[in-house]
Symmetry: C2
């Protein structure tokens, strides 16, 4: 059907010498070609084109930058930024071939999702595979995230997405009938129950290999806080050894390659503060399945400034979690909790590590709300043990904590993960600080989770471990005018200034009477 | 309310010496800081942070890359990529200050749109202002485009967006009561009526300062085709002189800074093939208002592979255009036309320029469908002249064309815009080509606009001016097996190969009987 009029239609072979360019472009592969490079001209590349670089049977995609300085890259060379160079994995001076990158295979499925169509299982698999292989540009990645935002995914699509995310990463198998885990959907500053629950249930003998995320939009995730006490970036083999020896661990899922697509998606969701039900369910459940969990207790806090603001909304989210969990064959127990205010006192990695250690040490200064919540959730997990009667879990958890067995187990886990020096009596807090005082006398009638989180993040948390907010009063406390409500710590003057401006602009505390307290009807 | 505990909370002044780094990052401002630079460490920047660079009262935003090579950037220096350096507009070695960039002002409005809220006039103004000032990252830009996709904008929001896009750019005032223009929503390859209509209506004495776009997803826009004949990137003053002298011009809107936000949005819409009704209306009408138009004839082609596929859809789009045009005080005449197949013979800049010049020259080889369509649309525009009776426009337009007055006017405009050598008898076509033959005898019963456009783009159009597709048969033509249906031209072997593979995979032509022809009921 096609009549040839040309001497040769073969694409030119485009060989160049690899050069490592000492520029750190962070997760964005960049290739540098000199403007006078014959390949650049012959192939009709443009700056910002995606090109494919091959060497030794490996291939990577990179965004092209065009260079006019021979000291950065010569005419026979292809430069690669640090990350791209490491990914290609060959030495300086190695021969590489380059070509215009073909668009990712799943582009058609992406375009259909953008125009509002329902996608099938194989579409989600193709998209997630391309994402995990870093074949999507920032633009394509963002388009996928926004097109799946809000209620754009139906519940079966959420299952397809979760399933695809599981299938693309490594999956752990602990060879035990029960592997338990607990997770919170987030949004409540200071809510570090995992660091208490893991040592409690592990001390009870249950297997609890906890992989946590870093903060996405919050001032600290469990991984950020645990990192104050120990190393959280563990190779899988070491993680398995620790879990075998101690029945638990507190590591970071990203390093363990458990859900590689999720980490890429988060790099876009974070700056857009996107956290839709579908993406939340897929992200959480895929990581749990990949980590080998069989039983999960899920904490959904509800309150005026929590992620979930009403009981009907909480119930809708619960049903979506339950539907997808069942399709993934995960046993799920959803607990709807009080999310009217931050949990514990400290917000930020060091401050939260301080609270956790005080609870484990049975220190009288420990925040009781965090202690109680952790005990109740640990109790629910313990009741997954078929030898435990329903309702007995809480008392067992409390006994493990009171007796110091939880502390001992935590110390073992910390040591196994490469413990760092930390003294909860002298936590290494940011050198700069300011205090916010009660403007009038009365009762603390409201604490804004979002505003507290914002102030803590502006102060530098979680990037600056020592930064954050320390809450000296909680809901229902009586205060007198001029009393300290909270103290903000920062590591850098500019951060302190940003935090102060935010704190001055919108008060995170509302002072009223006991009648003004928001009401919630939850289990705990 | 805020008690001070720190000696000084002022942000450190971060002065560095500016260095131009000869890397072309195309529209993405990049700043380079050495990892050992004191400012980098003190400010707690990260690779990919957005930083603000100030000098001489000007400020730009840039994405940070961290460098470990002192030959690229020293410890006291701040490097800027070519575009960023040009934008800041100070000399090498100048002192600059850097700081962490504050998020764009319109972030809150963007987040509200992402979560599905309706935005107000001031929200759109804030967003469009930030976009035009390049304060949005690729992620934020994509999120805005996808969140406004499909029917997410109601008609008043489309007006707000259009109005904001007008207000942010320059706006021309021609000091005449009638400034006419014509525009097509696109999607039909070869549809180059503007290059015929402008000289016809200008020869009639009407003011028609046509600013066109380059191709977004098509093989050629009017600006790309006009660029074969003359310069289209004209400074505003020169454009005004040409229009005063000749009553018309054919220039590129982007260069003229008429709708700076639109160009930035297109950089994201293009790779995602997004072309939603709201964005289409805002993009087209804002550019017309900015160019000073008072009367617009709008061409909406309809057909099985056109952008608009059914009459109800065309009517919905017509009403949206009419609503927004009225709010913008633009007189609008919408014409729904036959979009079942490409218009004219050539697809691609050089081939389309050939067709246009043959029509103007009254050459017998000229494609009659393009000629007829241009005459009818020109007639509609001429009827905006209050001295012309309704229905007389077509005959006037035909007389101007037949008499050679349109050709003379086109030659004047080409010369004024810096004419290039072009001979329509020997158009400089791509040196490589292949032909596609009829697989059987019959009647051409279907030509796929999308597939023809895809093949022409793969062949290199519009980047390679000489590349494209030349259609030798059109709908309704009788063909015999082995007869040439179309010929593909390319400039590079790889392009030819891509085009051939696409052409082999899916046929752009359907051969059947005269009864198989798709039907449309349109004006022309």
């Amino acid at each position: 059907m096609s009549a040839e009029n040309t001497p040769s239609a073969a694409a030119p072979v485009s060989e160049l010498e690899l050069r490592r360019v000492a520029i750190d472009t962070w997760r964005e592969n960049v290739a540098y070609l000199h403007r006078d490079c014959a390949v650049y001209r012959a192939e009709g590349f443009q700056a910002l084109s995606k090109i494919e670089v091959r060497a030794n049977g490996r291939r990577i995609l990179a965004t092209l930058n065009v260079v006019d300085d021979l000291s950065i890259v010569g005419c026979q060379e292809l430069g690669l930024s640090e990350d791209a160079f490491a990914q290609l994995g060959v030495t300086n001076g190695h021969t590489v071939t380059v070509s215009q990158a073909e668009p990712p295979e799943s582009m058609g499925a992406l375009f259909r999702k953008i125009s509002g169509e329902r996608l099938e299982r194989e579409d989600f698999h193709a998209i997630v595979r391309d994402i995990a292989r870093h074949r999507y540009s920032k633009i394509e990645l963002t388009a996928f995230v926004v097109a799946c935002n809000r209620d754009e995914l139906d519940r079966e699509e959420v299952f397809f997405l979760s399933d695809a995310m599981v299938s693309i990463g490594q999956r752990l198998d602990w060879h035990e009938p029960r592997v338990v885990d607990k997770h919170c959907i987030g949004g409540i500053p200071g809510n570090r129950t995992s660091m208490l629950i893991v040592p409690i249930v592990a001390a009870h003998g249950m297997l609890c290999p906890k992989t946590s995320s870093r903060a996405i939009t919050s001032p600290a995730g469990t991984a950020d806080t645990m990192e104050v006490l120990a190393n959280v970036e563990l190779p899988l083999e070491q993680l398995a050894d620790i879990v075998r020896d101690h029945r638990g661990c507190l590591a970071w899922g990203g390093t363990a390659q458990l859900s590689p697509a999720d980490d890429v998606l988060i790099s876009v969701e974070r700056p857009l503060s996107i956290d839709s039900p579908g993406q939340m369910v897929a992200s959480i459940l895929s990581k749990k399945i990949a980590a080998g969990s069989t039983h999960l207790v899920l904490d959904i806090p509800i309150g005026p400034t929590a992620k979930v603001r009403s009981m009907p909304e909480a119930q809708r989210l619960r049903r979506l979690f339950e539907y997808v969990a069942r399709r993934l064959q995960l046993s799920l127990d959803v607990v709807i909790t009080d999310g009217r205010q931050p949990v514990g006192s400290g917000i930020g990695p060091v401050l939260e590590a301080r609270d956790v250690m005080r609870i484990l040490e049975n220190d009288p200064r420990a925040p009781n709300d965090l202690r109680q919540k952790a005990l109740r959730l640990a109790g629910r997990l313990i009741e997954c043990d078929p030898d435990i009667r329903g309702g007995d879990g809480y008392a067992i958890a409390r006994d493990i904590l009171d007796s110091g067995r939880a502390l001992a187990r935590m110390r073992d886990i910390i040591a196994a993960q490469g413990g760092k020096d930390f003294d909860h009596n002298h936590p290494p807090l940011g050198p700069l600080s300011f205090e916010v005082l009660a403007p009038s006398s009365g009762v603390v009638a409201g604490i804004d989770n979002l505003q507290i989180a914002r102030i803590a993040r502006l102060a530098g948390a979680p990037k600056v471990q020592s930064a954050g907010v320390d809450l000296l009063c909680k809901l229902g406390d009586a205060v007198t005018a001029g009393e300290v409500l909270y103290r903000v710590y920062a590591g850098y003057p500019a951060d302190l200034e940003f935090a102060r401006q935010a704190s001055d602009k919108v008060s995170a505390y509302r002072i009223g009477t006991a009648d003004d307290l928001p009401r919630v009807f939850v289990e705990f």
